[in-house]
Structure formats: structure tokens, C-alpha cells
């Protein structure tokens, strides 16, 4: 997410899946879309039907590759080298989309003096503090900013940041998800590095200035030649050139290309930078904001987008606002806003978002006088992201833990360490459908101590399944879709919302009547989501569940209200139509500003709408944030004069007659701003965004080829090796890995630092369509289990022959953490690679198995490690080092914890009324003879 946020302004996919059907060329990299997003994959198939070229660059030949026109095998973790090679090709062959780049990116912006690139410092940028293994960058010291940024010594007032704040901002993975979805890497105000004279950066439209971004980019990627790419990635130089040619030929005015990525990119210590490279590439080719273009981030969970939007993360508040930290700079609301906000672009409205959020949470208790109870927000004082948190837990520093639909004992990187952590807790509450590994680790873990030696008290609360509760899901294309409860959960099962809501009510009761100041935030929290009338099921029957909260009320609170205006229809505060109505004076309340507009009127839940209008963007199906815009930055689909780049690729355009932006999508732009609008000097907020600047979340309104702030490990992507790799860094021999990565080395988390000879085989993890994550949702289902019953490892015939492994036999995989045994799938779909003149083997491990369920097996995550990228504390499960041998392991193998379902499984299937399901093939009629 920070990769996209730093490049374009929002950490979310820039387009929607259906738009892939409009692409002329799609590059799948770090993604196995056909297997992981099979339903969404129909759209690339439609594109292929229309003649598009599909390319899959991946360590393995997968079911996605089978449907693509071209598959290029590369070494896991070498993606930046490959993408850098593409960037180099585009620049050196002059194939970039000139008009687009000049106007819509910061290619012409000139940087301040003193910035030093990795080419000059042997793999580091200027401003580095550390020992090349771990460390931080100070962007101000490193002079990363635009020309005109004050020198560090000149900006005295911000030197007031306490050492703790500096540490929090620099060293720990904090605020990785906020605002520009990037972590500021300096302790100055966010906008500081983009400070310009008169609010516009200094540019050189001829792109000749040696310190303009374009020239910096060229120098930075100068050595990413096809030969270099071949040495590092293991593919042929011709292969990389072929991909580059296809992308170039399919970009420009008339044609657009899209890039699709997923966890194959994000789960690396350089993951954020991989995405940044893709961002640079797509910006150079002019594909952002255009139909059939963009970067489709495929998030892997039905509502993981929703979970980051609503900030279940420790360092962000809903809507990507930063969580305040325990430092003087965040002492009061004004200081917080001044330090975290931006003066130009849409983020200039930052104060409105935070005040409205506080009003939503604390209601009448929040007012001008008490800073809207800003001081009641919990403060961050350390890195509490998942991996460091479990590192603390394994050291015994955590007492209790709630797990809602999560399975760290099975699915977390270095699952062994996670289980060790769970064993150190005093108490653990697990809320899930089945007794997953995290619920039975104390008795069924074949690698763990006997139950007598474990002091954790484990509570298991059975959860309701998806059709047994109301709620909304926000999918990878930012689309909110509401689902209605179809039937009551059985027995004691309850929805997560019921559990949390009633827990909150009981806690409030427990502390009722207290006058202690520290209890007030809990007592004053608005917590009334009772149903007005007892809920009924769709067939009219009364639900038997008591105490269920009305989640539509929650959604309405998320949407927001005008508190000073009652709606005569309901007698309640009037619902907001959109986030432009937000105020910073306490008259509006809004639980998540980016979702505002989802519930604009009483009874109109836009997330529930399912109208098929035939419009290609289907705007009346669900609600996409922001403001139902389907393609972000779509101002870029028109040229600087406001006309579409071509008839074939039109999306929105300026209409002189209507004096507004019109077209096929909601403009991701102020609808009334003319294309020739020039902001006056000193303009603030959105008024500072010119008519030719599509990237409204950026203070300078353009896409960032070079990111002065927002990404903690550098303004430009650099090829580094994964932390565990059998080879060194060919590009910068003195700097093997990401210099700002955090490792948590310890007895439970050994690392085999690159280059390692003890673990010469590159390992990557992958998904199968048949199972899901670590198994809680799939390995308790017979129909899925018979499709993929056992854990296996994929390896090439050459590696198998070398090690004496036969297809269908057993092999063991050993990493610096642990060893596992699994069945061998010997297949040609994996190949050995020629890296820097020697053979390097790769293996693939599906990570779906662990020790609880109807089928059980070895856990790939027992092998992986805990390392954390500096931006979002992301681990590196997609590239690590291991050794492979034939045979099994001594010791007990796991046995199933649940017997297979008996047959017949339930009563006869009831009749389905004919009207219940809309049929048809997206448009065409598909039934019998009408």
C-alpha cells in the first residue's frame, strides 16, 4: 500500500477488476490471479478474447501462466531487477508517453542540492544512519526534498521533536498506513520536503537539468540492462526485452496496459519498492487513471481492504489518519494537525476528518473546549504491528490476546515462534468457526510441549459464518458490498459484532458510575447500535439471537451525520451525502471519511445496491470509495486540455457546455475545475491543485516518479537481495539487503543472511485455489479436502534428480528455523535458473496445511522467518533460503483433529424459487429458448 500511496496518493488499487477487460496488455507479476482470484480472472480472459496479450512473470508456471500468452520464469525476490530493467528499457529507448509524463508526473521537478543516489554511495542513499544491515534514513539530512526545501539547520521549530518521537518516526514501522500510505522518514512536518516557492515546485520542462527527476531516474536505472536482469533474475535477456516491447507497444494514446500484483510482491523486505517500481513504470507509460490501465493490487482477503480502511491497524485511525503518538508534537489537536496534515491537495482537509471522527466516537462529550476529546485517543509509544508484537509475546511480555478469525499458530511467518508466544500468554480468546490451530495449539501441536507445561488459559467462542450475519465487505477494488443475514447461527455461535458489542456493553457496565478520568473514554464512547425492532430473517421469522447490534447503524455512523440538522423523516441527525460536507467545527460526525456517501439517505444503503444497469462500470452495484469512483486519478484519462487521449480510451472529459467534467466514471477530481485553471500564489487545499493535475492527494498534484517522502527505504527503488538468499547483490556488492530492514534475530528466529551457502535453494510460498490461507476456512470441508488432501512441495526434475527425490515420494525442507517433510511434486513447471553463471534451484511450498482439521500436514510457515520491512513491517515469506533432501523426518506426524463428515450431510436440498438468482452471462441471455 505505501508503494501506491507514495506514487499516486492513495494506498489502494487504482482501478477495478472488471476494467482489466479493457486492457490491451496485462502483466501479472507477484500474482497468481487465476488461482487466487478465480472469479476476478474472468476479466483478463475477456481481455484475451478481445485480443489482449497476457504476460505472467513468476518463479513458477502456474494455472495463471497456463492461460497467459507468455510466461517468464524469474528468481523469487528479484522483481525490482526485472521491473528496473523494464524502466531502463522505456527510458533508454525513449518509449515513455511524453505529454503525460511532462504534465502528470514530477519528472520535471528539480531536487535540492546534496541528494546522493545509490549509484554514488554503493547502494545507499544520502541520509543513512546505520550499519548497512539495519538502520534508518533521515530524508531531511539526505536532502531528498525538492529544491527550495529548507536545509535542516534552518528549520529550527521542528527540532523540538523529542528523541522518542524521532525514534518512533524513524526506526519503528509506525504510520506506514497513514495519509500517503507512506511512513515519513524524517521528523519534520509531512509537507516539508515538498515545500516549494509559492506552493509550486521548481521544474525544468526541457528535462535537461541534472537534478531534475527525469535525469535522476535515468542515472539511477542506468545499469539495469537486459544482461544485468538476466544475471540476477535467471531469465534470458530476450525475455525481458520481449516483455518491455509488449508493454511499450500497448501504451500511449490509443492503447493501455495494466499491471496486476498481489502478495508475490508485497511479502518481501523490498515489497513496497517493487510496487513503487511498477508505479514508476506505469507513470512513464502513461497508464494510470486510464481505462484498461492502472495497477490492480489484488488483495487476498474478502475484506482486507476494509480492514485497512477502517484501520484495524495499530498505527492508523479510520480513513488512513495517523494514530497520535506519545510525544509533545502530538500533544494537542492543533499541533497534531499542523504536523501531520498537508497544506495543498485534498489532505488539506485533514482537520475536518479527525474532528468528525472524534465526534462520531465521543458524541456530545467532544467539543471545542476539550479539543474534541483528542486526548482520549490512545497514543502509540512503540511498534505494535504483528511481528514485533509476537516477538514481545514470545519473550513473555504480553498477558492476554484476542484472536478474531486469525490463525497465527498456523499461518503466521515463523509459526513456531508464534506458537511459543501463545504458550506464554496468561489467557487467550479465540473466536472462530472451528477449533483451529490457534485454539488447540496447547494439545495438538506435534512440535510443542505437553499441555501440563503450558499455562495459557484458552477460551473458544464459536463464531457465526458469513450467511449468518449482516455486514459489509470491502474488496480489493475498494468496493463495499453489503450482505444480509440469511439464517441464524446455530447453538452458541455468535457474530463477531455481537461478541464485540456485548463485550463493550459489559465493560461499560463494569465501570459505570466511575469518576476516574482514565475511565471516561470508555464510558463516553458512543455505543448504541440496538435494533429499533427485533430483527427478522428474510423469510419473515423472528431471529432467535438476542443482543445483536444493528450494523446498518454502524454503517450510518461511518457514513456520517450533520449534528446540527435533524432529518424530519427520522428525527435523527441528517446523513451526509459525501465527504465534502465534513466540517472541522464539531457540527459533523463521521466514522471513516473515505466511506462517506455510502449511506446518504435513510433507507438507502448503497453498499447493498445490486442494480445492473448495463453501464460498463456498473455504478449502482455496491459503493466504491472514494465517492463511488471506480478508476482513481481518472483526470489523467484526458489530456491537459481536457480532451480524451483517444476515442478508444476515453473515460472522463471536460464539457464546455456543462462546465464540468463528464463521462463514464465519477471524476476523481473537483467536477467544476477547468482544465486551464491555474492556482493563484499561496492557494491552499484543493484550490492549489491546477486543472492539469490529476493526482489530487499529492501536494503537488502529480504522480511521483521520485518520492521525496512517504517511503522509508528510499525515494527510488533499488535492487536488493532478500535477507536470506544464496547469492549476493550483483548491483551493489557492498549492500546485499535492504539497509533499513528490521530483523528480530533470536533463538526462535535464526536467519541465514545472504549470501548463504548452507541453504542454497531458494524457497517461495504459494497458494492453491482449493484451499485458503492456513486452512481454517478450507481444511474442515470434505469437498475441498478431497481436491488437495496433502501438503506437497513443487520442485524441478533437475533438483529431484540431484537429491534422489521421486515424484510422489517424500522430501524434507530445512531452513534456519525448522524442518518439515512433505510429498514431492516433481514438475517441469519449475526450472533451475542460471544466476551469475551458476545454477540456482527454486522450490515452491503451498502454505495451507497445519495440524488442525480434517486433513493435516506439515506447515510451510514453520520454515519462514520474522523480518520486517521498514514501512509496514511486512515479512518476507515469498523468498527465503532452504535446503532440500529426500526422505521423511523422525518424530510424530500430525493426525486429523476432526473426522470426515458423514454422508448424507444434511436434509434434502430445499427447492430454490426461480426468482432467487439472476442468471445470464453478464449481459447476454443464457437460458433455454427465449
Amino acid at each position: 500500500m505505501p508503494g501506491l500511496g507514495a506514487s499516486f496518493g492513495r494506498g489502494a488499487a487504482t482501478t477495478y477488476q472488471q476494467d482489466l477487460a479493457n486492457s490491451d496488455c496485462i502483466l501479472f507479476m507477484g500474482s497468481n490471479m487465476a488461482e487466487a482470484h478465480p472469479v476476478g480472472f474472468r476479466w483478463p480472459m475477456k481481455a484475451k478474447e478481445r485480443g489482449a496479450t497476457l504476460i505472467h512473470v513468476d518463479p513458477r508456471f502456474t494455472r495463471t501462466s497456463a492461460l497467459c500468452d507468455l510466461h517468464i520464469g524469474i528468481r523469487a525476490g528479484s522483481d525490482i531487477a526485472f521491473l528496473g530493467g523494464l524502466v531502463h528499457y522505456v527510458l533508454s529507448h525513449d518509449r515513455w508517453f511524453k505529454e503525460y509524463v511532462l504534465h502528470y508526473t514530477n519528472a520535471a521537478t528539480i531536487l535540492q542540492e546534496g541528494f546522493k543516489d545509490t549509484e554514488e554511495l554503493g547502494g545507499l542513499f544520502s541520509g543513512y544512519h546505520g550499519n548497512r544491515k539495519t538502520g534508518t534514513y533521515d530524508a531531511r539530512e539526505g536532502r531528498w526534498g525538492y529544491v527550495g526545501t529548507p536545509a535542516p539547520e534552518e528549520h529550527e521549530e521542528w527540532r523540538g521533536a523529542t528523541p522518542m518521537y524521532q525514534m518512533l518516526r524513524h526506526e519503528l514501522g509506525m504510520h506506514g498506513h497513514s495519509i500517503e500510505q507512506g511512513a515519513p522518514c524524517h521528523s519534520g512536518p509531512r509537507h516539508e520536503l515538498m515545500t516549494m516557492e509559492g506552493r509550486r515546485p521548481v521544474t525544468d520542462p526541457t528535462l535537461q537539468h541534472p537534478r531534475c527527476v527525469y535525469q535522476i531516474l535515468k542515472r539511477h536505472f542506468a545499469r539495469y540492462t537486459p544482461e544485468f536482469v538476466s544475471q540476477v533474475c535467471g531469465c534470458s535477456p530476450e525475455a525481458m526485452v520481449r516483455v518491455a516491447e509488449l508493454l511499450c507497444a500497448n501504451s500511449g494514446r490509443d492503447r493501455t496496459s495494466a499491471i496486476v500484483y498481489a502478495l508475490g510482491w508485497t511479502q518481501h523486505t523490498t515489497g513496497v519498492q517493487m510496487i513503487r517500481t511498477a508505479g514508476i513504470l506505469q507513470a512513464l507509460l502513461g497508464n494510470i487513471g486510464r481505462p484498461g490501465g492502472g495497477i490492480m493490487a489484488m488483495r487476498g482477503h474478502s475484506t482486507i481492504q476494509g480492514s485497512t480502511d477502517l484501520a484495524t491497524l495499530y498505527d492508523a485511525l479510520p480513513g488512513y489518519l495517523p494514530q497520535p503518538c506519545s510525544d509533545e508534537l502530538h500533544n494537542n489537536l492543533e499541533s497534531y494537525v499542523a504536523h501531520e496534515g498537508l497544506a495543498t491537495g485534498y489532505w488539506a482537509n485533514f482537520r475536518k476528518f479527525i474532528v468528525s471522527l472524534l465526534k462520531a466516537w465521543y458524541g456530545d462529550a467532544a467539543s471545542w473546549e476539550n479539543d474534541f476529546r483528542y486526548s482520549w485517543l490512545p497514543r502509540v509509544d512503540a511498534d505494535y504491528s504483528h511481528l514485533p508484537y509476537f516477538d514481545r509475546m514470545a519473550k513473555g511480555q504480553v498477558k492476554g490476546y484476542f484472536l478474531f478469525g486469525q490463525n497465527p499458530a498456523g499461518g503466521a511467518p515463523n509459526a513456531g515462534l508464534h506458537r511459543a508466544g501463545l504458550r506464554k500468554l496468561d489467557w487467550l480468546v479465540v473466536v472462530d468457526w472451528f477449533e483451529i490451530e490457534s485454539a488447540v495449539f496447547w494439545k495438538d501441536d506435534p512440535t510443542g510441549p505437553p499441555p501440563e507445561q503450558i499455562g495459557t488459559e484458552v477460551f473458544f467462542l464459536p463464531a457465526a459464518a458469513a450467511p449468518e450475519k449482516d455486514g459489509s465487505l470491502t474488496n480489493t477494488q475498494r468496493l463495499l458490498q453489503w450482505h444480509d443475514k440469511a439464517l441464524d447461527p446455530p447453538a452458541d455461535c455468535r457474530s463477531d459484532a455481537w461478541i464485540l458489542y456485548n463485550l463493550g456493553k459489559r465493560l461499560k457496565q463494569l465501570y459505570a458510575g466511575s469518576t476516574e478520568p482514565r475511565d471516561q473514554p470508555l464510558l463516553q464512547l458512543t455505543w448504541d447500535y440496538e435494533f429499533d425492532e427485533h430483527p427478522r430473517l428474510p423469510d419473515g421469522r423472528r431471529s432467535r439471537i438476542e443482543g445483536e447490534p444493528d450494523l446498518e447503524k454502524v454503517l450510518m455512523e461511518i457514513n456520517g451525520f450533520r449534528l446540527d440538522d435533524l432529518d424530519p423523516r427520522t428525527g435523527r441527525p441528517r446523513l451526509l451525502r459525501e465527504f465534502s460536507e465534513l466540517e472541522d467545527d464539531g457540527t459533523t460526525a463521521c466514522g471513516c471519511w473515505i466511506y462517506s456517501g455510502v449511506f446518504p439517505q435513510p433507507g438507502r444503503n448503497r453498499a447493498r445496491e445490486r442494480k445492473r444497469t448495463g453501464h460498463p462500470l456498473e455504478p449502482e452495484w455496491g459503493f466504491a470509495w472514494p465517492h463511488n469512483r471506480r478508476i482513481l486519478y481518472n483526470r489523467a484519462s484526458a489530456d491537459p486540455e481536457g480532451r480524451p487521449w483517444s476515442e478508444r480510451k476515453k473515460l472522463i472529459w471536460w464539457s464546455e457546455e456543462q462546465r464540468r467534467w463528464v463521462g463514464l466514471d465519477e471524476p476523481d477530481y473537483d467536477p467544476n475545475t477547468r482544465p486551464d485553471y491555474e492556482p493563484p500564489p499561496g492557494a491552499q487545499g484543493m484550490a492549489a491543485i491546477a486543472g492539469t493535475q490529476p493526482f489530487i492527494m499529492k501536494p503537488d498534484g502529480v504522480a511521483w516518479l521520485y518520492a521525496p517522502g512517504g517511503v522509508r527505504d528510499g525515494p527510488l527503488p533499488v535492487h536488493y537481495e532478500p535477507i536470506e538468499s544464496p547469492v549476493g547483490n550483483l548491483l551493489y556488492p557492498k549492500q546485499t539487503g535492504n539497509p533499513t530492514v528490521r530483523t528480530f534475530e533470536g533463538p526462535l528466529n535464526h536467519l541465514a543472511h545472504a549470501p548463504t551457502t548452507e541453504y542454497p535453494v531458494v524457497a517461495t510460498t504459494f497458494r492453491l485455489t482449493e484451499h485458503y490461507l492456513s486452512g481454517p476456512m478450507s481444511r474442515f470441508n470434505s469437498w475441498l479436502n478431497e481436491l488437495m488432501p496433502e501438503m506437497f512441495v513443487e520442485l524441478s526434475p533437475e533438483l529431484a534428480a540431484e537429491r534422489g527425490i521421486v515424484h510422489g515420494g517424500w522430501l524434507t525442507v530445512r531452513s534456519a528455523r525448522s524442518s518439515i517433510a512433505a510429498r514431492a511434486m516433481v514438475t517441469r513447471r519449475l526450472r533451475p535458473l542460471l544466476i551469475e553463471g551458476r545454477i540456482v534451484h527454486q522450490i515452491g511450498l503451498p502454505f495451507h496445511w497445519a495440524f488442525a482439521g480434517e486433513v493435516v500436514g506439515a506447515n510451510a510457515n514453520d520454515l519462514t522467518s520474522i523480518v520486517a520491512d521498514p514501512n509496514v513491517s511486512m515479512h518476507e515469506c515469498k523468498a527465503f533460503a532452504c535446503q532440500v533432501a529426500a526422505g521423511r523426518l523422525d518424530g510424530a506426524a500430525p493426525s486429523p483433529t476432526k473426522s470426515a463428515a458423514a454422508w448424507p450431510t444434511r436434509d434434502p436440498v430445499p427447492d430454490t424459487p426461480a426468482a432467487a438468482q439472476p442468471e445470464g452471462m453478464f449481459g447476454a441471455r443464457n437460458g433455454r429458448g427465449d
Binding site: P797, H807, V826, T827, R828
Partner: protein, 288 residues
Amino acid sequence: MHSGYADRTITKAPNWHGLVALDTLFNNMTTGLFLVAALGELAAPALFAEVARVAYPIALALLLADLVCLVLDLGDPLRFHHMLRVFKPTSPMSFGTWCLTVYALPLTVLGLLSILPTHTLDWLRRPAMILGLLPALGTAVYKGVLFSTTAQPGWKDARWLGGYLVTSALLLGAAQLLLLCGVTEQREAAGALRPTLELLLVLNAVILGLLIRDVRATLARAYESTRLSELALLVVGGGVLAPLYLLAVGRPIGLTVAVLLILLVALLVRRVIVRLPHLLPGGRGPGH
């Protein structure tokens, strides 16, 4: 690693085993016995009426044994009567079901009449014999055609299987009748039977040869060549040559042994035929 499904058996075997082999044997034994006995009685009643009287109840018993095998071999034996829901001569199994049903009636009459002490209903015997001839022939004919009208490897190439089973039926019938002649001390009938039996042995061997030629490719896939040689020896030696010799010699003990050999080898051949598709790799579906 594999290169597709090209080298695997596509069809699924129907899981017909021992009961079905027994069924073909009983089927052929009952129809053959009836046909030989009835034709004999009709053409030369003086010679064969006595032994035929004994033959009919035995044929009836064999028919009942056959029916029991058929019913027990069904996946759902309690629904055996569903076979009579339709009359579908284009399906060999339906044709066979009805032939069996129609054949059963005159045979029951004859069998009962043979046991009952009274002679008042003896006038029924001749019409029953005549009426039973065609159904008996049909019953003997349908079985082999049923096997060859399938998609199973081996069976689907067995053009002469129907012919083999019919001639085998008559061979078995003549053999059984010869044995019965021995038991009832009908020496003249026995003497008349022996040349017929020898002729039938030769005819049956010829048709068997044609049948083996039909299925030899599949036999080679299902059995190792040493095993095939053993089987060939058993069938030809024990089922054709030895009986021929023993018949020629003509001693009572030898005749009995000859009949037994014919019966046993007949069963062996049927077992090999019925098991043939089941022995090929991949011929069994999942869950079996």
C-alpha cells in the same frame, strides 16, 4: 509427472465378478440341459423320455440358482422386479430378462410334472416343451451378446462370445444329460449322446478359437505370457482333448470325469472372460 491421460483405460469396469461367472454357467447349464432333453424327447421319445423326466427338475433347479445369482449381483437386490418394468428387446439385458421369464414358465410346468406322481396333466408336457424351445435358445444367446455390446476392453471385441456361450450351453447340456443317463442307467440314450457330445466339443473348441482370436490383444495386456500358456493348456488339454479321449474310450468312470472336466473348464473360461476388463489398470473408478 505425466503426459496426459492417453495411456490409461477410459472406461469403468462394472464390477461383475464371481457371481456373474457363475450366472453364465448356470444359465448355459439350464438352457442347454433343457434344449438337449426337450429336443431329444421330442425327436426320439423312446430313447430320451426317461432321462428327460429327470433332467427337467434339475434344469429348473439350475434356473433358480441362476436367478439367485443374478438377483444377488444387483447393487440393490430388493429392486430386482424393476427389470420387468419395461420390455426393451434392443437392450440385451432386457431381452434376456424376458427370455428368462418366459422360459421359466414351461420349464416350471415340466419340472413340476416330473416330480408330481399324477399323470393327468401329462398332456401339458408336449406343448410345454415346444413353447420352451425358443425362449431357451434366446436365454442362451443373450448372455454373450450382452457382454459384447459394451464398451469394455476385451468384451467389446468379442464378436464370437455369443456364439461360444450358445454352443457351450448345448455342450454342457449334452454333457449333463450324458451324466444323467449314467445315473438313470439309460445306456442306449448314453450311446446316442456320445457322438453328439464329441461333435459339440469340436464345434465349441472351434468357436472358442475364434473368440480367443477376437480378444487376444486384451488377454495379452491382462495376463503375463506364462500365465496365458498355463490357461491355454488347461482349457485345450483339460477341456477339449482329455474329454474327447475319455469319450472315445467310453468307460463309465471316464465319461463322468469327462463331464466334470467340461464343466470345470467351462467355469474357468467364464471367469477369465468376466474378469478381463477388471484386470486392466485404471479400469476401476475412484471409490472402489
